[in-house]
Symmetry: C2
DNA sequence: TTTGTTCTAGAAATAATGTTCTAATATGGG
DNA sequence: CCCATATTAGAACATTATTTCTAGAACAAA
């Protein structure tokens, strides 16, 4: 059993990439280092889009950010696979190198701050924002990934759900 | 590293349950057998509720079934943890004992058939039904689990999302 | 070219994990 | 109580993974 479901094996990385074990350890230090790097790079790619969209002005505040999830899945399917189909805890754990743990904390803090600011700006409760911005979009794309592409038509449904939970709470200014 | 994140180790089952390795193998045959059994029992518990709710008459067809996800999380938190926080592929794989694979196929077929019937009855497209019945509710509860209880207030939000995607498509009769 | 550094390769060492096995212990029927 | 069967226990074994290590290849600067 060279590759068992659900966990990344060094051997399977070697087999699938053609890179030697030695190179892997030279570059990443350890298995934990490799996994954390994969997660952090993926997260950075998504956050860049998400944060930009969150500040974007529009008819319905935050809607563009909610739609970044399906768009990211279509634009960067490989990274989306990691973001959508892995649990964070599979890639980051207590024995992740400290430097990388710190990097993750920083990235998370930045997003948290942005969402907090969004909530203050719009008057939305945090829980509602998280649901509309992350929970529903993620739940939606997970119906398709991995294995199938995320259909364009899904965006309209995500938008409906977003409006349904956000608009009633929006303190328009 | 006795227990690594994300994968169930026999040793960790022994440690957490106090049951000996011998008993585990006597009862389940193999690690694969144990994991599959956990998944199947969980699924059965959820399906029982879900299918009952799906046939339940009501103002908005299917709404009760959509709300079974957060309710299940509150009623059976241990099983919900498996259902919500594990990928199926972590527990079921190609070397799952055939008998158990068959059991899973049967269970899945039954649910699929029920959802198909629901769609025929209501005129809803399958994709919309899956989104409202499964995708959104699951995405919503995942914001909390594991670690926090699923708040009652979440049900109202799931209902809003469900109505938003389902009602416009409903061919009322 | 020479020199030093970085990177690659893959076998060998180390460590963790799954499974088997045998003896001991319970359990239930007669 | 006795026996047969089912279950438990956990050490020993086999398998599979991660990590280290050494030798060599690529690369860049002088």
């Amino acid at each position: 059993m060279l590759v068992r479901d659900g966990e990344v094996r060094m051997q399977s990385v070697v087999a699938e990439t053609g890179v030697s074990v030695g190179s892997l350890y030279h570059r990443f230090g350890s298995r934990e280092g490799l996994l954390a790097r994969a997660w952090l790079d993926t997260l950075a790619a998504f956050h860049a889009r998400f944060l930009a969209a969150l500040d974007q002005p529009g008819d319905v505040p935050g809607l563009a950010a909610a739609l970044e999830t399906p768009r990211f899945c279509r634009a960067e399917p490989d990274k989306a696979l990691i973001l959508v189909c892995c649990r964070r805890s599979e890639l980051i754990s207590d024995d992740t190198p400290e430097a990388l743990q710190a990097e993750l904390a920083t990235a998370n803090d930045r997003v948290m701050a942005a969402i907090d600011a969004f909530c203050r700006r719009t008057g939305l409760p945090l829980e509602i924002a998280r649901l509309g911005l992350i929970g529903f979009p993620l739940g939606a794309v997970k119906l398709y990934m991995p294995g199938a592409p995320v259909p364009e038509a899904l965006d309209e449904e995500i938008e409906r759900a977003y409006r349904a939970v956000v608009l009633p709470r929006l303190v328009s200014s």
